[in-house]
C-alpha cells in the first residue's frame, strides 16, 4: 500500500463510521452546490524556490535556537522546568501552543467541515472552563508544592504506587502520541510536497531530537512561541480572505446547512445535530470529563505552567491560554466552514476531511504565502511533538529513573539522562509513528487514549486535591479500576452501541471517570487516610492563604481575569447559540 493511499485510508476514515446524520446533511447539501462537480482535488503543491527557502529557514532557526540555549542549561531544573523563570505570557503561550500540535489544526478544521460550527464546543465547552478551573483551583497546589511533574504530585498526595502507575502509563502514552504527531508531520511532507514518508519521519525526529536535547524545556518553549506566532500569521489570512469572498458571517451561514451554524440549538436530541451527541453528553462527557481530564491532569500542558517564575505567573499562564482558546476558532473552525462552500465534496470521493485546511491554503495563497502557510502547519505538528518529548523526558528521568533505577544520581547526571531520554524517545517515536500508520483513524485513536487514561486520572486528582479523607490506596485502586473499565469498554462494547465514534469516546470517558470516582470513594472509606500534617499544601483546604501568593491589586488578580473570560464565553455562546 502506497503511503499516499495509506493516508487516505488512515485519515479519511476519520469518523466515517459515524451515524448517518453527517452524511445525510452533506449529501443533500452537496447536491445543491452548483459548483460541486464531485471531482477529486489535486493536492501536491507547486512550490517555488522562495517557498522552500521559507521552510528551510524555519528549520534552521529551530535548530539554531537549540544550539544557542545549550550553554544556558546547567541544572535539572533548567532542563526540565526551564529554571522556573518564565513570565506568565511566555508560559501561557507555550501552554496553548503545546496543545496546538498533533492534528489539532487540521483535525478541528476537518471537524468543522464534517459537523459544522458545533465543533467549536471542543474549545468553548471542552477547554475554556477546564483551563479556568486549572488556573484558579489547581495551580496553587501543583505550583505551590514545587513538584516537577504530575506523577510527583500523586506521590505527595497518595503514595509511591500511584505515582509509579501514572508515570509508566503517562510515559507510554506520550510516546504513542509523539509517534502520531511525527507520522502526521511526515504525512504533510509526503502528501503536500511529495517527499518520502520514511525520510520525512526520520527528518522530523532528528530535528526534534537536536533542539530539545540541547535546550530541554526552554528550547521547546522558545520554539513553541515562535510556532504560535507563525501559526497565527500563516493561517489568519484564511478566514479574512474567505469571509470577504462569501459575504461575511451572514453570507457563510446562508450557504451551509442550517444545522451547521449553531452550537446549542440542535442538541436537544442526538439525532438533531451532525455530531450525534445531545447536550447532556456534550456537557458531561466533553465539557466535564474529557476536558477537565485533559487540561487539569495532562502533564504535557501543565509542565509549561510549572515553568512560570512565581505563583501569580503560574496562575495567569493558563488564563492567557484560555483567552486564546476563545479566539482559536477563527483559524481552526471558521476555515472548516469556509471549506464547505469553497471546496465542497470532501469525505465522499475518497478524500479526507483533513484536507480542508491544506486545500484552502492552496486555494487562496500565492507563492511565498504558501510557504508560510505550510510552515505554519509543520510548526503545529512540531510543537505537539516536542511537547510530548519534553513531558516524556521529565517523567522518565524524574519519576522513573531517579525514583526506581538510580536514586543517588547527581543533578548533572540527571541532565545527561534527560538529554539521552529525548534522543531515545525520538527513536521510539519513529517506531510508534509506524504503529500509528496501522490504525484506521488517528483522531479517534487519540481521543480513545484520552478517555482511557486522562478521564480516570482526573477523578483521582480531583478527589485528592479537594477531599482530605481520600486515602493513598483509594487513589491507587480507583485509578487502576478506572483504566481497566475504560479498556474493557473499548474492547467489549462496540461503537454501534453508542451510535457514533465521537459519542463512544465521550461516554466511555464519562464511565471511566465515574468508576474511578466511586471506587476511590469506596476504598477511601475503609482504608487509612494520610495524617493532616503530610497533606499541608497538597490538599486545597489545607493551604494557608497568603502563604504562597502575594496580595495583588484587583485588576491583576487571577479571579478578575477569569471572570472577564467567563463573561466573553457567555457572550459568544449566546451569539452563536
Amino acid at each position: 500500500m502506497s503511503p499516499t493511499r495509506l493516508y487516505y485510508t488512515s485519515l479519511s476514515n476519520l469518523k466515517s463510521t459515524q451515524g448517518q446524520n453527517t452524511s445525510n446533511h452533506r449529501k443533500a447539501f452537496n447536491r445543491k452546490q452548483k459548483n460541486y462537480t464531485g471531482g477529486y482535488y489535486e493536492l501536491i503543491f507547486q512550490l517555488t524556490l522562495v517557498d522552500y527557502l521559507i521552510i528551510v529557514i524555519y528549520f534552521a532557526f529551530v535548530i539554531f535556537i537549540g544550539f544557542l540555549l545549550r550553554k544556558r542549561v546547567k541544572t535539572s531544573k533548567d532542563f526540565f522546568l526551564s529554571g522556573r523563570s518564565n513570565p506568565s505570557w511566555i508560559s501561557g503561550l507555550a501552554f496553548i501552543s503545546a496543545n496546538m500540535g498533533a492534528l489539532e489544526l487540521m483535525g478541528m478544521c476537518a471537524g468543522a467541515y464534517e459537523y459544522g460550527f458545533i465543533q467549536v464546543q471542543f474549545y468553548w465547552l471542552g477547554a475554556v472552563p477546564a483551563i479556568l478551573f486549572l488556573a484558579l483551583f489547581m495551580m496553587p497546589l501543583y505550583y505551590g508544592t514545587k513538584v516537577h511533574s504530575v506523577p510527583e504530585y500523586l506521590k505527595l498526595r497518595y503514595n509511591e504506587a500511584t505515582r509509579g502507575l501514572n508515570a509508566v502509563i503517562f510515559a507510554g502514552m506520550t510516546l504513542l502520541l509523539s509517534g502520531i504527531s511525527m507520522y502526521a508531520l511526515a504525512l504533510i511532507f509526503n502528501i503536500l510536497l511529495g517527499w518520502s514518508i520514511y525520510q520525512s519521519v526520520i527528518l522530523s525526529a532528528l530535528i526534534i531530537a537536536v533542539y530539545v536535547s540541547f535546550g530541554g524545556l526552554t528550547s521547546s518553549i522558545y520554539n513553541e512561541i515562535l510556532q504560535f506566532f507563525l501559526i497565527w500569521f500563516g493561517l489568519l489570512l484564511l478566514p479574512i480572505l474567505g469571509l470577504s469572498e462569501v459575504g461575511g458571517w451572514e453570507g457563510l451561514t446562508s450557504r451551509i446547512p442550517e444545522s451547521f451554524s449553531h452550537i446549542w440549538a440542535n442538541t436537544a436530541t442526538a439525532t438533531q445535530n451532525p455530531m450525534g451527541v445531545d447536550w447532556l453528553g456534550l456537557v458531561l462527557g466533553l465539557g466535564f470529563v474529557l476536558s477537565f481530564g485533559y487540561w487539569c491532569t495532562d502533564f504535557l500542558v501543565i509542565q509549561r505552567t510549572l515553568s512560570a517564575k512565581d505563583m501569580e505567573a503560574a496562575q495567569k499562564a493558563p488564563l492567557i491560554g484560555g483567552a486564546i482558546k476563545l479566539l482559536l476558532p477563527l483559524i481552526a473552525i471558521i476555515p472548516g466552514l469556509l471549506a464547505i462552500v469553497l471546496v465542497p465534496g470532501l469525505g465522499e470521493g475518497g478524500q479526507s476531511y483533513n484536507l480542508a485546511l491544506p486545500l484552502l491554503i492552496k486555494h487562496y495563497f500565492p507563492p511565498a504565502l504558501i510557504g508560510i502557510g505550510l510552515t505554519a502547519l509543520m510548526a503545529g505538528f512540531m510543537s505537539g511533538m516536542s511537547g510530548n518529548i519534553t513531558a516524556f523526558s521529565t517523567v522518565w528521568t524524574d519519576d522513573i529513573y531517579k525514583s526506581y533505577v538510580n536514586p543517588k544520581a547527581s543533578d548533572k547526571h540527571l541532565v545527561w539522562m534527560g538529554r539521552i531520554s529525548v534522543i531515545v524517545a525520538c527513536i521510539i517515536s519513529i517506531g510508534t509513528a509506524f504503529i500509528a500508520m496501522s490504525f484506521p483513524s488517528i483522531m479517534d485513536y487519540m481521543q480513545a487514549l484520552f478517555s482511557l487514561i486522562n478521564a480516570p486520572l482526573f477523578a483521582t486528582i480531583l478527589l485528592g486535591m479537594f477531599w482530605k479523607r481520600t486515602t493513598p490506596w483509594g487513589g491507587f485502586f480507583g485509578l487502576i479500576t478506572g483504566i481497566a473499565t475504560g479498556i474493557a469498554l473499548f474492547v467489549f462494547v462496540p461503537v454501534s452501541y453508542f451510535g457514533t465514534v465521537m459519542a463512544a469516546n465521550i461516554w466511555r470517558a464519562w464511565w471511566t471517570w465515574t468508576t474511578c470516582f466511586l471506587v476511590t470513594l469506596a476504598v477511601s472509606m475503609v482504608t487509612k487516610p494520610k495524617p493532616e500534617e503530610e497533606l499541608k499544601g497538597v490538599v486545597y483546604g489545607l493551604i494557608k492563604k497568603g502563604e504562597i501568593q502575594k496580595k495583588l491589586p484587583w485588576y491583576s488578580r487571577p479571579i478578575t481575569w477569569a471572570l472577564i473570560i467567563i463573561a466573553c464565553l457567555i457572550v459568544v455562546n449566546i451569539i452563536f447559540f
Binding site: V50, I90, I225, L226, F233, L237, K309, P367, A368, I372
Partner: protein, 99 residues
C-alpha cells in the same frame, strides 16, 4: 535571580521572533513585488506585499526592542565566528607588531 532570567528570556524571544519575521517579511514582500512586475495569470501577489510588510513591521519592532548585541555575540560564539575573528585579530596584531 529569577527576575534576571525572565528578562533574558523575554528579550531573547523578541530577538528571535523579530529576526524571523524580518526575514519572512522581506521574502514575502519581495516575492509580491516580483510577481507584480512579472505578472502571472491567476496569481494575486498583492496579498504577499501587504502581509509581508506587516510581518516586516512587527519583526522590526520586536528586533529593536530585544537585546541585540548579547544575542549576536552568543550566536557568533555558537557558530565559531568569534573564534575566527579573535584569531584573525591576533594574526593582525602580530603582523602589526612585527612591522
Amino acid at each position: 535571580m529569577p527576575k534576571k532570567q525572565s528578562k533574558t528570556t523575554f528579550v531573547d524571544l523578541k530577538f528571535f521572533l523579530g529576526l524571523l519575521f524580518i526575514i519572512y517579511g522581506i521574502l514575502l514582500a519581495g516575492t509580491g513585488i516580483y510577481y507584480s512586475l512579472n505578472p502571472i495569470s491567476g496569481i494575486d501577489s498583492s496579498i504577499d506585499v501587504y502581509w509581508g510588510l506587516l510581518m516586516l513591521a512587527i519583526g522590526t519592532v520586536n528586533y529593536y526592542k530585544s537585546d541585540k548585541p548579547s544575542n549576536w555575540n552568543r550566536a557568533f560564539a555558537v557558530s565559531g565566528i568569534d573564534r575566527i575573528e579573535k584569531r584573525l585579530k591576533g594574526i593582525l596584531d602580530e603582523a602589526v607588531e612585527e612591522v
